[in-house]
Amino acid sequence: MNAAGFPLLSLLTFLPLAGAVFILTLRGDEKVLAANARWAALWTSLVVFALSLILWFRFDKADHGFQFVERLDWLTDFGITYHMGVDGISVLFILLSTLLTPICILASWDSVQTRVREYMVAFLVLETMMVGMFAALDFIVFYVFFEGVLIPMFLIIGIWGGKRRVYASFKFFLYTLLGSVLMLLAILLLWYRAGTTDIPELMRHAIPPGLQTWIFLAFFASFAVKVPMWPFHTWLPDAHVEAPTAGSVILAGVLLKMGAYGFLRFSLPMLPHASADFAPFIYVLSIVAIVYTSLVALAQEDMKKLIAYSSVAHMGIVTLGIFTFSVQGLSGALFTMLSHGVVSGALFLCVGVLYDRVHSREIARYGGVAKIMPAYGLVFMLFTMASVALPGLAGFPGELLVIVAAWKVNAWVAFGAALGMILGAAYALYLYKRVAFGRITKDDLRGLLDMSPREHAVFAPLVLLAVWMGVYPQSFLSFFEASVTALVVRHEAALSAARLAGM
């Protein structure tokens, strides 16, 4: 059947859902119920994570095709099947999702006190959607999961969020849904032409260049909002600011990757001509994103907003890397996606640590925190440095590869991307300085406790990953290599075939 011998991907996808159903059946008085829900959710997500490690060990890195494939007839008359599988591009994102979920549950242990059962259910459903989305090999299945992610996230922001949570959640929902509607139209068009929605088959299906443009634009509408690319990014700061800490972690860690994943999975392989035609346009948007949002981040007064804007800048590196169409660029983009998932997730958790204690996200409210919370100061420093792509930490290899690849395209593009190095350092250090350094002037800060054992447990895996990814990135990059190389080769072949045909 597949390398695992049992339907691993389906298990990973639907086990959290089963856990969610189980939690819904729990009864008892409020306190007991909350405790039970927490433990049940934590154990479910830990089991899922343990199972997903099979992917890490059993994935064949030399094979560029899809592995762990499952196929069930579903709507055969319409050419739609339930088709799951992973390749080098998607496999690590499943691991990222299954890793971040237990961390998020652990991080919300004390900070969420209302409707705990529903909160945990929402997170498990969210995990199902995320894993399913990265594993889906049928466009309709993908679309269901892709859109399904919105629902739990909408609820997480809208119910457990901050003061303006309703505005933020609606903005988030409508913005992303609007793009997706256009994508649905494009999917229908593809289905109409090819008679199937099977992704591997669609990749082999040639689409005339004229039509590619339209489909590309429809995909772009959906993915660019999800990434988010400038100027479709304004939903992100609002959503982040209002979301609870764990919501922000998943939002930054996994949801932002869905757009870039879409570009890699659909736009590039299915629409090579349109992708090549639109590449300069994407470069411009990416560089604007890097420079513009870095500057905007510099002016922020709210910690979460600052990190949210920095995410937009980092995703600019990702989109830039994807559209260089080179092995370095694509690998760099994928690596940045992973590292950003770890690092920005951790940074939001860092904000959460302070927020749980002081209940403020305002930067000016803090100062001198490193003095009373040295362990926290160290962790925060580590992730700040990882975020500014200090070599030896997770952010660097991806940025290096993307800049090297961008130089091949155009030196000025590389220069624009590299400007992010300076501006990124400026806003990140400025944030750190205002929060952690300086003399403590607010009396209530003096009584803060350093990180608790639970918080140590939350950060430990992320710290480990941030260092590991920085010191030995090859262990991650080797997953991408075969698939990315195959993708680039196919892309070039498609372009040169068209050139030979006298275009």
Binding site: A299, V404, A425, K433
Partner: protein
């Protein structure tokens, strides 16, 4: 052993940093010192084995990444150049660690300090033993991080935090160019490993990039990177501010090691630089200008550490123009001797500050030389070496550098020679201004401070004495190896002079007045300082008053900070605010918010349409039908 030299400091940093709170301050201190001592032992053995024994080696550790032909490994490359650096860095760093045990005695968080110091040393060692540009960049940024942490060590001080940030960000400006240079190197050579690059230099000599010779572009980009780290003109502004850090930090980072990384980079990439004459000319001009520019500022500063900082900046200029005229060996030689006497001067200054109850302003010192005789003596030795007085270390290296500039027989070489001579005069002048104002004359500190003036403890004096020995003998001992008779054997191909570059021979054939000139201007600088500050102490104030404009211009460091603030910092912040509050909040967000508003308006309008009057409905229906039919008719006609 080769690995130990690099990784012992990391071990020390890890122990002190993570377990410092459990093992206690003293244990943390001595663990790091012990690790450093071990590293120094390894480092010096490596120096003997690799540099003197001519046995270069490379230690492969781990594949860093390998993506589509872009291959990078963690590896330690030991050739003469890196062995010189490793030996020097480990030795000086050990001395500074020991010194810090005394200097940071009263500090409440010493384990953190020692962890940072050792981390810094580790990063510096990774930098100098790098086998490829990416690993070099790792060390490069790593020392940047460590210096950020060390400058901001007293993070409760607002000025220290600001200085730390400034150091990191200004360095990042240089790093941007380094990164771009790295990218172009890869696309030209197909590799970023030094061996592969150097082997392919002949092959790609005619490569172009955007119509320019690719080598020139690579070298200019890398040099701009070096300017950031080595505080050359334009990107120097972080160095004086970095004196906010504890004094041992200034000695370690801002004198002996980190700031020399740029010079090291140019020397390391010498095989490529040799084929980029334009870039070399740029290196020469920038180096020479920095040498003079920083020296002029050094003459009027009043903070004892800042004077030495500007002096460092100026001496780095010497190293760069030596490299620029092709005498990389001379640059490294000066780097090597400078490390000893500049660390000595900084630590000596630290000893003075320690004695004066944390006072750093030389206007508030004076008359203390009898009370701290050892410090006084080593400051003399350091200054003599710095001024290039015969037979001290600086004499050999500085003379060689200036002779090389003269022997280049080129316009830029002559410019460098003139700037270098003038700077030598100023160097001697400000060094003795510092000595006289600090130690001689009537005491200007308050009585309370004066009572407490005391010589430093032995743990601080011993490193000073060792460095003093270095400041005396390193020149005469190592001259034959670095630049003298045995230089070819010694360098063993670690630094490459192209066939057209004869500077290493031409240096020894300059007219006889050239080697004399630096000594003469040096001694006259000392004489002038003696005259102005010892014999006629009223004159400097009058001069300052008479030439008020010039004085203020120099005192304010040529207004570079103000200029940058005006040109970059404030516009960036203004732009940031504008982009956020106008572009983001009004324009971009205005579209969806506006759309939402329109949607609700339309809905309300639609409500109004439902009037219930049949006539209205009928009218709308007919109008719609008319439009529909028209469209249909046109569609059929086509």
């Amino acid at each position: 052993m080769l690995v130990g030299a690099v990784f012992f400091p990391l071990l020390g940093a890890t122990i002190a940093g993570f377990f410092g709170r459990w093992i206690g301050d003293r244990a943390a201190q001595w663990v790091t010192v012990a690790c450093m001592a071990l590293a120094a032992a390894c480092g010096m053995t490596a120096f003997v084995q690799v540099a003197l024994g001519h046995a270069p080696a490379t230690v492969e550790i781990l594949t860093f990444l390998d993506v589509g032909g872009f291959e990078v490994s963690w590896a330690l490359r030991y050739d003469t150049l890196s062995a010189v650096m490793v030996g020097m860095v480990t030795l000086i760093s050990t001395l500074i660690h020991i010194y810090s045990v005394g200097y940071m005695h009263h500090d409440p968080t010493t384990p953190r300090f020692f962890a940072y110091l050792s981390l810094f040393t580790f990063m510096m060692l990774m930098l100098v033993t790098a086998d490829n540009l990416v690993q070099l960049f790792f060390g490069w940024e790593g020392v940047g991080l460590a210096s950020y942490l060390l400058i901001g060590y007293w993070y409760e001080k607002e000025s220290a935090c600001a200085a730390a940030m400034k150091a990191f960000i200004v360095n990042r400006v240089g790093d941007l160019f380094f990164m771009l240079g790295l990218a172009l190197t890869f696309w030209v050579f197909g590799s970023v490993e030094f061996n592969a690059i150097f082997a392919a230099v002949e092959q790609h000599k005619d490569a172009t990039f955007a119509g320019l010779p690719a080598y020139e572009v690579i070298c200019v980009l890398l040099f701009l990177g070096a300017c950031g780290k080595s505080a050359q003109l334009g990107l120097h502004t972080w160095l004086p501010d970095a004196m906010e850090g504890p004094t041992p930090v200034s000695a370690l980072i801002h004198a002996a090691t980190m700031v020399t990384a740029g010079v090291f980079l140019v020397a390391r990439m010498s095989p490529v630089f040799e084929w980029a004459p334009g870039a070399l000319a740029l290196v020469t001009v920038v180096g020479a200008s920095t040498a003079l520019f920083a020296a002029t500022i050094g003459c009027v500063q009043n903070d004892i550490k800042r004077i030495i900082a500007y002096s460092t900046c100026s001496q780095l200029g010497y190293m760069f123009f030596a490299a620029g005229v092709g005498a990389y060996q001379g640059a490294i030689f000066h780097l090597f001797t400078h490390a000893f006497f500049k660390a000595l001067l900084f630590l000596g200054a630290g000893s003075v500050i320690h004695a004066m109850s944390e006072e750093q302003d030389i206007r508030k010192m004076g008359g203390i030389w009898r009370k701290i005789p050892v410090t006084y003596a080593v400051m003399w030795i350091g200054s003599l070496a710095l001024a290039g007085v015969p037979y001290f270390a600086g004499y050999f290296s500085k003379d060689f550098v200036l002779e090389a500039a003269y022997a280049a027989h080129s316009g830029v070489g002559m410019y460098a020679f003139v700037c270098g001579l003038l700077a030598a005069f100023l160097t001697a002048f400000y060094s003795w201004r510092l000595i006289i104002l600090t130690f001689h004359g009537a005491p200007r500190a308050d009585a309370h401070t004066m009572e407490h003036v005391h010589e430093s403890p032995a743990v601080m004096l011993v490193p000073l004495l060792v460095l003093a020995v270095g400041a005396v003998v390193t020149g005469v001992v190592f001259y034959p190896y670095f630049v003298g008779h045995d230089w070819q054997q010694f360098w063993n191909g670690a630094i490459v002079n192209a066939p057209h570059n004869h500077i290493m021979h031409a240096v020894h054939e300059v007219p006889s007045w050239v080697p004399l000139a630096p000594t003469v201007v040096g001694l006259s600088g000392i004489a002038l300082a003696y005259l102005l500050y010892m014999a006629m102490p009223g004159v400097p104030a009058k001069l300052a008053a008479t030439f008020g404009g010039v004085y203020r211009f120099l005192l304010n460091k040529w207004y570079f900070d103000e200029l940058y603030d005006f040109l970059f910092v404030r516009p960036a912040l203004r732009l940031a605010r504008m982009l956020w509050q106008t572009a983001d909040a009004r324009i971009i967000d205005g579209v969806p918010n506006g759309a939402a508003a329109i949607a609700s308006d339309v809905a309300q309008g639609a409500v109004r349409l439902q009037t219930g009057r049949v006539a209205n409905y009928a009218f709308v229906m007919i109008a719609g039908l008319a439009v529909f039919v028209t469209l249909l008719a046109f569609g059929a006609a086509r």
